[in-house]
Amino acid sequence: MSAVTLRKVFKRFGPVEVVHGIDLSINAREFVVLVGPSGCGKSTTLRMVAGLEEVSDGTIEIGGRVVNEVAPKDRDVAMVFQNYALYPHLNVAENIAFGLRLRRIKKDIITASVNDVAATLGLSELLHRRPADLSGGQRQRVAMGRAIVRQPQVFLFDEPLSNLDAKLRTQMRAEIKRLHRRLDATSIYVTHDQVEAMTLADRIVVMSDGNIEQIGTPMELFLNPINTFVAGFLGSPPMNQLEATVSYADGGPIAKVGSDIAIPLPELRQLRNAEGHPIIVGIRPEDTAVERNGAANAAGIKCDLDLVEPLGSEALVHVSVADHPVVLKTETRGAISHLSDVQEFFVQPDHIKVFDQKTGLALDHPEVA
């Protein structure tokens, strides 16, 4: 399996630049997920790796070889598309065998490979059906089968689960993860769904407006987002962000939100002598509690209850803090009556992230400091 390296890669469509010189190193056998909102350049980046889009500037290497001028078929990559891209006139077996037949591989080898892949993906019973006679999940499996059967150096996935319903998406996500573990192949996966990114990736690349915002393992990104964009993109619901100014009370830094709300902040070097500095206070919904529960150092923050969304075992409590909307996530085990009189919530200062309001960067992130 091959490593993939992007060096200062730009993509321009006429005068419009959509990818602004990104650098990315993907190790062999690694599962990397490119995630970001629509139009952030993630699919364009993947298509440049596949060879479906030309690189305007910079280089792309696959297995140490610069592939900028190499045709897609000679890059030894396989791609799974969002709309499956199955040939409607061919049956499942012929669809899977398509790439092998183009390479004039012997018929008996093709048959054996197709049967093997079909068995892996649970398609053995469907080999003679046409794509029109398959369900969405089955079609997606065929699309993956077509990629797997070629045993490529690199797998490219372009939002492969976007067209499936929520339940099927969860199932297929697990299947892709199992498959990657089994094939141990370098994989680049594009999605706008942060849950897919968190569950599948060895490393996540968060993109925005044609730039890479942050690269790291899912937990690194979740716990230490480099900026407000990453903080707001990963996590469901995303991190609450409150505009505030730095102040001091009882010898420690606090964030003043509005005129009368004070939130204790973690003891950070960057917060020393920063009186009045505009910041953004980041609080994950999961790090909040509606009761103190014996956490002595947890700070209580006054709030006004807006509404409660019960989700079964947990509930989302929508409140406002000095007119800023905040979402709290709390375990309920089905009992939500006590949430109707929430006037205060609790959060430990160590769990609070602090961002510079001007740059949006996290004050304590190693790459920023």
């Binding site: 791609m79 598309f81 709309n83 398509f98």
Partner: protein
């Protein structure tokens, strides 16, 4: 028994009141959708006036028709005209010519628009593509009379460009349009030149409907442009090809009668006289309207059989059919 008509109308109505329920449903339907019927009206009127009303006159094929006695007053003579036709060598020659020209057209003219569309699809230079398309569409918009004039001039033995070029090459000059063996190639060839471009539009539209990701996927899989054309484009537009084929078979015996009339002459009747020109000569020039009606009816029945057979065959073989 009390009759009940639900929102679904006919389907839920009891069997005894089925007719009344259907009428009520129709009234309700017309009230609700009258705008659609207003839009359809001109087409329906056209069909009734020009295609259904003349069918009344078809009975003269079975009568000894005289314009003075009129359709009603002319006596029935059964299948006499058909018997006369079947004993007429000229009619048999016309039937034979119709089928030969029709099948040659099918073999040579039918694939050309498909090939043209595939070729246009491979042109990526926008201006060149538009220019090429305009050039091949243009002849369609020229009147068939002018086309015939151009062809007659092109193949003229004295001033025709073809004979001039042949003369320059030291070849003997040929009067193509009076030689029976040249009539069919010239007729079919010039027809291809006139119509192939315009007919390619429908295939281009079908090609435009093929998902671009199929090609991208094939590129990653290792397909060349030639392979993509054979393995993706052509199979993807196959249902359109089948539908066009059925329509073409339906019109098989209708081999461009006006154009033949403009191109042929007694010297080329041997290969150029078709059923429709035969009907024209019998009916209008020879005033044998009853005989011409019989020949026309024969033509229509053959067309009906052909299109039904083609449709049934296509449904069985390719799962695509017109109805």
């Amino acid at each position: 028994m009390t009759e009940t008509v639900s929102q679904q109308g006919v389907r839920d109505a009891p069997t005894t009141g089925k007719f009344e329920a259907r009428v009520r449903w129709l009234v309700r339907h017309f009230r609700k959708e009258w705008q659609i019927y207003v839009l359809m009206a001109p087409m329906i009127i056209w069909f009734l006036l020009f295609l259904y009303k003349p069918m009344y006159g078809l009975q003269i094929a079975f009568k000894d028709f005289s314009i003075f006695r009129g359709i009603e007053g002319s006596p029935w003579i059964g299948l006499e005209h058909f018997q006369t036709l079947l004993g007429n060598d000229q009619f048999f020659r016309a039937v034979g010519n119709t089928f030969i020209i029709a099948f040659l057209s099918l073999a040579f003219a039918f694939p050309v628009p498909i090939i043209l569309a595939l070729m246009f699809n491979e042109i990526h230079h926008r201006i060149f593509k538009k220019m090429a398309q305009t050039i091949v569409y243009l002849p369609h918009f020229i009147s068939v009379v002018i086309i015939a004039g151009i062809v007659i001039n092109m193949f003229s033995p004295s001033t025709g460009v073809v004979n001039n070029v042949m003369g320059m090459l030291g070849l003997e000059q040929v009067y193509f349009l009076v030689q029976p063996e040249w009539f069919r190639p010239i007729f079919i060839g010039s027809n291809i030149w006139k119509e192939a471009g315009f007919e390619s539009i429908i295939y281009l539209a079908a090609i435009a409907g093929v998902s671009p990701t199929l090609y991208e996927s094939a590129r990653v899989d290792g397909a060349t442009r030639w392979q993509m054309m054979w393995r993706i484009t052509l199979p993807s537009i196959f249902p359109t090809i089948v539908i066009m084929f059925i329509i073409r078979v339906g019109n098989l015996v209708d081999v461009g009668f006006e154009y033949i009339l403009l191109l042929y002459q007694p010297a080329t009747y041997q290969t150029g006289d078709v059923i429709n020109t035969f009907i024209y000569r019998q009916g209008l020039q020879g005033a044998q309207y009853d005989m011409a009606a019989a020949a026309g009816l024969f033509n229509a029945v053959v067309a009906l059989v052909l299109v039904t057979a083609a449709n049934a065959l296509s449904r069985r073989v390719s799962r695509t059919s017109l109805w």
